[in-house]
Structures are given as structure tokens and as C-alpha cells.
């Protein structure tokens, strides 16, 4: 195990990782202050012959400082986080030119429905592949998440994407990959005995390769339909 976040291949992921490390450094400062402080006090103020504890009930100034500093830090973090959150989740932030794919989770597989040759979801030329999610890099993708049975969660670590799939709801999310490669979808919400084995391949293509793959699939689908 190494103490790092996985490879980041997502536009959103840059912001998420930056926030993570910002919080890491802020908490590291607090951590050192408290832990070293405690250990130092334990040694410095240990009971000794002839030494008596100070009789003091408090100090308003000190209390104000250590109330205000954490409060201001939290306010800052709140504003910073809020901006990133809105940029990812707000309906306005969803890109207009995205490739839209439906993903339906069920115990224990991911059924990925692509829009077919007409590039429109919801009609007869859609095709569904079990456990394979293929997208182009450098293009925004919208995923409409559904579930057939229980709550699952669509998690692609390198894309920094996670969204629960809830039966009875269609939940859209978006992201954009910054490079090609092979990754996986992992289910991140307990969904039964096969939860640990509910994976799908994520294949991210360079845009031209994706065109080629897509045409192969729609061609094959058309051939199958014609039979």
C-alpha cells in the first residue's frame, strides 16, 4: 500500500485532489500542534516534588483565539468546498455536448446502454453491454444511473466519480476523462453477497479509436437486429 491517491485522469479530479491535500496540510498542522503539545505537556507538567499545579479556571483571550481560528478555517473550507461541489453537482454545470450513456446496476452486474447509431438514448437502436463501460477521453460524458433492485454505487477511483444508484430514481452525473486507459467500476454500496465482486471494465479510448469501436458495435447490433 502506498499513501497516495490513485492516478487522476479526470478534470473534476484535479479539484478534488487539490482540496484533499489542502485539508491534509491544514489538519497536519493541527495534528502536530495537538499531539506534540500533549506529549510536551505530559513531560513538562508531570508531578514533581515541590511543584504544585497552577490554580486557574480559564482564560478568555485564549478561548477566543482557539474558537476563532478553527471557525475561520472552517468558513474558508466551506466556501472553497462549496464552489467545487457546485461545479460538479449543480444542474447548470452539466455540459451540453456530453455523450450520454445509461448505466443500470443490479445484483451483481452493471448493464451499460449506449445510444446506438442515432446517438440518441431511448429507442430501438440502443445496445446494452454487460460489465463494459467504454467512453472517449477528452469529451464530457453524462451517465444516467439506475438500479433494478437495491442501492449500488457507481465508483471509478481514477475518475474520482462516485454516485449511489437508487432503485426508483434516475440520477445523472457527469465527468470528463483526460487520458485513455483501462480501469474499473467498483460497487461502493453494500448490495448483497456479491458486492465485492461487482466490477465492470472501464475502457477509455482516444476519440478516434472510440469512433471506430462505436461503429463496430452499432454495426454488429444492426446485424443482430436484422436476423
Amino acid at each position: 500500500m502506498d499513501w497516495s491517491l490513485p492516478l487522476n485522469i479526470s478534470t473534476q479530479g484535479v479539484q478534488i485532489d487539490n482540496l484533499f491535500w489542502l485539508i491534509f496540510w491544514l489538519t497536519a498542522v493541527a495534528f502536530v500542534l495537538v499531539e506534540v503539545g500533549v506529549l510536551w505537556f505530559l513531560w513538562r507538567y508531570r508531578a514533581r516534588e515541590g511543584h504544585r499545579a497552577r490554580y486557574t479556571h480559564g482564560h478568555l483571550g485564549a478561548e477566543i483565539v482557539w474558537t476563532a481560528v478553527p471557525a475561520l478555517t472552517m468558513i474558508f473550507l466551506g466556501i472553497y468546498s462549496g464552489r467545487i461541489w457546485a461545479g460538479i453537482k449543480s444542474p447548470d454545470s452539466f455540459p451540453k455536448d456530453a455523450l450520454t450513456i445509461n448505466v443500470t446496476a443490479k445484483q451483481f452486474e452493471w448493464n451499460v446502454t449506449y445510444p446506438g447509431a442515432d446517438h440518441v438514448l431511448g429507442n430501438d437502436d440502443d445496445f446494452t453491454i454487460r460489465n463494459r463501460f467504454e467512453i472517449p477521453a477528452h469529451q464530457p460524458v453524462v451517465v444516467n444511473l439506475e438500479s433494478e433492485d437495491v442501492i449500488h454505487s457507481f465508483f471509478i477511483p481514477e475518475l474520482r466519480v462516485k454516485q449511489d444508484a437508487v432503485p426508483g430514481k434516475v440520477i445523472p452525473i457527469w465527468f470528463e476523462a483526460t487520458q485513455a486507459g483501462d480501469f474499473q467500476i467498483a460497487c461502493a454500496e453494500l448490495c448483497g453477497l456479491g458486492h465485492y465482486s461487482m466490477r465492470a471494465s472501464v475502457v477509455i479510448h482516444e476519440p478516434e479509436d472510440y469512433e471506430r469501436w462505436y461503429n463496430e458495435q452499432t454495426g454488429a447490433a444492426q446485424t443482430a437486429a436484422a436476423d
Binding site: 454487460r130 434516475v170 453477497l193 465482486s197 471494465s201
Partner: protein, 281 residues
């Protein structure tokens, strides 16, 4: 001291509850928990036992089998030299395999000793072997996993208590029995959605599954008149009446035609797929 007495009381109460026991697990395991063994009639005298056999044919063009994409499970995909195909219609030279044939009427109130020989179903290459099987109530079904991947065996029975058990690695084996006759029980694996099998449970030992040439044989029958039922997973069920005398072999040949409709067999619980409104909190 008071404290230790409270502790002992708690411990005793816990043990008392714990030892209440009760079998764990869906379905009935092993042989001891099978259905009541009714007073058994003497086994049919082999000197007079009759046989019913036949061939099941298919006329017309069967829908083409579809390729199964196992690329997401390399452990299984690697076991195949040629492309694995779906088994909805297995037709060889006009003969239909994987048809479950059994005696549905004519045995009267007779009961039969439960065959203790176990029936095996094996998961190999992410498929069930056999695809269709028959078993008697109380007879042990041994479920074996030959793949080093997680399979779950999810039986969607309605008359019997359904069970859903996992076998995460190769070599694992579980045994189950069914208490009640039920035709058919669908079996699926939720991890590998293409895996399907069907189990026909009958009170009598008189059942068979057609082989690749569409042939079946049911032996050891008491002489009499019987309704023979054939069941196919896509086409449905049909029946015919056959009379056999002592030591006779009766013929029961069925034909399924692609254009005809046959009686559907209700199997398992219907799947309810819920699609809903957009996410709006």
C-alpha cells in the same frame, strides 16, 4: 458478590437461547432435513417394470443462439477454445435437447423411496452443467464450483423455500434438498448473468432430460396409464398419454413446432424492474 451473579445469569440466559438451535440457511441441507419420508410402497418389481422412452423433435427454424461475452471474467473465458453460445434452443438434426420429461399423472397415491444417489450440478467455465436436471423430493443435490471465481446459486422457487448461496472459490461444494414437487425451478448466478439452469423436482423418480439427440428414457415404471409431460424452457410444455403393460416399452415422441404455441410453465417470481423519476432529492 452481586456483580458476578448478574454475570452468571446473563451467561446462562444467553446459552439457553443459543442452544435453542434450529437449522440455519435457506433450503434444506444435507439429507436429514428432507421432507417427511412417507410410508414407502415396495419398489417396483424389476420383472414387471415398464419403460417409456421417446425422441423429441423440433420442426422449423430455431432462433439462432447468441454469443455469450465472457471477456469480463477471464478465468472462465480462458477455458473456451470456441465461442460459448446461449442454450435456449439446442437443436441437432431436428432433435431438441434439454427437454425435461416426467410423469405428471397416473401414479395415483403411490409413494416411492427417495433415491439417495446424489444429483450433481457443476459450475464450470461459468456455466451450469447440466443445464436442465431432474431430481426427486428429498434427493440430495450436490452443487459444485469448479471455477475459481464467485458464483452464487440463486434458486427462484415458489413451492420450495428458495435459497441463494455463494461459492467464492474452486472446490467448494454444498448440498441441498427440495421438499416439494415443483416444475421448474430456475437457477441463476447473479454475478454472471448469462448462467441459467432449470431444476425439475418430482415426487417420483420418473423423470429424464433429453440428450443431444433428443432422446430420453424413463425406466422402472409400474405398468399403467400415464400422462407424460415435456417441458422446454423457451417453447413451453405439452403432454401425451401413454399406456404400458408389464415389461413393455412405450413410446412418447413429442414434436415442437416453431410456429405453434405451447402451455407456459410459471417459473419463479416475476422480476419487477423499477424505473423512476429523475433525481430531484
Amino acid at each position: 458478590m452481586s456483580n458476578s451473579n448478574s454475570a452468571w445469569l446473563a451467561l446462562v440466559a444467553m446459552v439457553a437461547v443459543g442452544c435453542g438451535g434450529g437449522d440455519a440457511g435457506g433450503g434444506d441441507e444435507g439429507m436429514e432435513s428432507g421432507g417427511e419420508m412417507e410410508a414407502t410402497a415396495p419398489a417396483v418389481d424389476p420383472a414387471i417394470a415398464a419403460t417409456i422412452s421417446g425422441t423429441i423433435s423440433f420442426t422449423g427454424t430455431a432462433p439462432a443462439a447468441e454469443a455469450i461475452d465472457m471477456s469480463e471474467e477471464p478465468t472462465c473465458a480462458d477455458k473456451y477454445d470456441s465461442q460459448p453460445m446461449t442454450l435456449g434452443y439446442v437443436v441437432n438434426d431436428g432433435h431438441l435437447a434439454n427437454v425435461f420429461v416426467f410423469v405428471s399423472e397416473g401414479l395415483g397415491d403411490r409413494t416411492f423411496p427417495t433415491d439417495q444417489a446424489s444429483v450433481e450440478i457443476n459450475q464450470e467455465g461459468c456455466r451450469y452443467h447440466p443445464h436442465v436436471l431432474g431430481i426427486q423430493t428429498g434427493q440430495p443435490l450436490v452443487i459444485h464450483n469448479s471455477d475459481d471465481v464467485l458464483h452464487n446459486i440463486n434458486t427462484e422457487s415458489t413451492e420450495n423455500r428458495p435459497f441463494n448461496i455463494s461459492q467464492p472459490s474452486a472446490g467448494m461444494e454444498s448440498t441441498r434438498t427440495f421438499n416439494t414437487a415443483e416444475v421448474m425451478i430456475p437457477v441463476k448466478c447473479d454475478v454472471h448473468g448469462w448462467m441459467h439452469a432449470y431444476i425439475g423436482v418430482t415426487d417420483s423418480p420418473y423423470h429424464a432430460v433429453t440428450d443431444a439427440s433428443g432422446n430420453f428414457t424413463i425406466e422402472g415404471l409400474p405398468p399403467g396409464t400415464y400422462t407424460i409431460e415435456a417441458w422446454h424452457e423457451e417453447l413451453g410444455a405439452q403432454t401425451m398419454s401413454v399406456t404400458v403393460g408389464e415389461s413393455e416399452t412405450g413410446a412418447a415422441d413429442f414434436t415442437y413446432d416453431e410456429n405453434a404455441a405451447y402451455a407456459p410453465v410459471p417459473m419463479g417470481e416475476p422480476l419487477v424492474v423499477s424505473h423512476g423519476e429523475s433525481a430531484a432529492g
